[in-house]
Amino acid sequence: MRSPKDHETSQLHVDAGLQPERTDLAWIRTTLALVVVGAIFLRWVPHYGWFAGALVAAATMISITINMTRKHRFHRGSLGIRNERMPADLISTFFVASSVVVLAAAGVFTVLFLPLQ
C-alpha cells in the first residue's frame, strides 16, 4: 500500500512541457463549459418544466463527475510521462462525448416534441 508521501512523489514528473497540467486545465475548462450549458438550460425550466430541470441536473452531474476524477487523471498523466508509458483514457473520453451527445439529443427532443407550458 502507498503512503501519502509516496502519492505526493508520484505526482512529480519531468516534463518541461507541463503536459499533465495543461491537460488538467483543459478538463477544467470543459467542466466550466458544462456548467454554462446547465445554467442556460435553467431558462427552459419555466417553459418546459421538469424535463428541462432534469437536463440542468444532468449537465451539473457530468461536470461534478469530471471534477471528482480530475486527480486520478493528473496522477495518471504524471506517471505516464515519468514511465514513458501511458494507456489512452478511453473511458473518460467516451463518457464525456456520449454525455454531450445525450444532452444535445435531449435538447432537440425538447424543442421539437415537448409542448411549451
Partner: protein
C-alpha cells in the same frame, strides 16, 4: 526516483479484462509517447468545448429569442445548432479514437472530418440567421 512495476504505475489493473477490451478498441499497436496521448486528449476536449458552445447557443436561441423570432424560425435555428452540437460531440470521440489508433501504428494522422462539418454547419446557421433577420426587417 522511486519506480514501481509498469502495470501498477499506469494505474490500471494488469492484464485485466478492461485493459484487453481497451486494447481491442484501440486496434492493437503499441502505446505512443504519453505526451502525444495527452495532446490528443486536449484536442478532443477542445472539440467537445466547441460542441458545448453550439449546445449553449442552441439552448440560448430557444430561450432568449421568443420576442424576436416566430416559433418556427426560433425552433429551426435552435434545432440546427443542437444537431451540430450532437454531430461535433459524437464526431470528436471518433476523431480522438482514429488519431489514437494511427499513433499506435505509427501511421499518418487522419484528416479531421468534423472540421468541414463544423465550418459548413456554422456557415449554414449564420446564413439562416441573416435571412431571418432580414425577413423580419422587411
Amino acid at each position: 526516483m522511486p519506480k514501481a512495476e509498469p502495470s501498477r504505475e499506469t494505474g490500471e489493473g494488469s492484464g485485466s479484462g478492461r485493459r484487453r477490451f481497451e486494447t481491442r478498441i484501440l486496434a492493437g499497436g503499441t502505446e505512443p509517447d504519453p505526451r502525444f496521448t495527452l495532446a490528443n486528449e486536449r484536442t478532443f476536449l477542445a472539440w467537445i468545448r466547441t460542441s458545448l458552445a453550439m449546445l449553449a447557443g442552441g439552448i440560448a436561441v430557444e430561450a432568449f429569442t421568443t420576442d424576436i423570432f416566430a416559433p418556427d424560425i426560433r425552433k429551426t435555428i435552435a434545432v440546427l445548432l443542437l444537431s451540430l452540437a450532437l454531430i461535433i460531440g459524437g464526431g470528436s470521440f471518433f476523431r480522438w479514437l482514429n488519431i489514437e489508433r494511427a499513433m499506435r501504428h505509427k501511421a499518418p494522422l487522419p484528416l479531421p472530418a468534423i472540421a468541414p462539418v463544423l465550418a459548413a454547419g456554422g456557415a449554414i446557421v449564420a446564413l439562416v440567421f441573416i435571412a431571418f433577420v432580414l425577413m423580419r426587417q422587411a
